[in-house]
Amino acid sequence: MGKKLSTKRIRSRYKDEWVLLLNPEISSETGIEGGEVVFHSKNREEVHKRLSDFKGNKAIVFTGKIPEEVGVLL
């Protein structure tokens, strides 16, 4: 499996991507703190498709941001 990385490191290494982590470290205050990167992609669906390849606790992190000129109504 991959090396454990902090979420901060993941955000700088995999910009604007969806990142799948195995054995994530979770803080009740800040959420996902890091984990083993097992897959990453610009495409969210690609990450979802790979979920079943990995067993155990997992996490998904999105490292991008909503563009400044975009508004969101959910």
Binding site: E29, G31, E45, H48, A59, I60, G64, L74
Partner: protein, 135 residues
Amino acid sequence: MADIKFNSNEKLIFLDIGIASSDGSWIIYLPVVLDTGATTTILPADILVDLGYDPGHPGLSRVRLITGSGVGYAPSITIKSLIVGGEKINNVSVLCHDLPAEAGIDGLLGLNFLKNFDFTVEYSSGRLRFIKIQE
């Protein structure tokens, strides 16, 4: 009580939630948005399937879903537990619906979860606080 940091400079209130698998043996953590405008928590079907749920089961009720862009229907499923900031609520109903990936989230944390708490949003400090309402 949960005391959660969020980035008050973002356009939405993003937070990570944990969803237990159908047998309760493992958890997946996902980015969602806190949404007091959503009656129900929303999660994508792909993730629920991976967790061992069956959102395609013909026996599930389908809920009318009114969104900013129209009206549709989404299956409703009960998940074993949902965790936010270390606070866990069991047997939470969620709607199976895929939100656009451009929003950078996998789902919405809606009022059916939030109503279990007195919660505050402090933009000055970037803090969310959840105090569980005792039954």
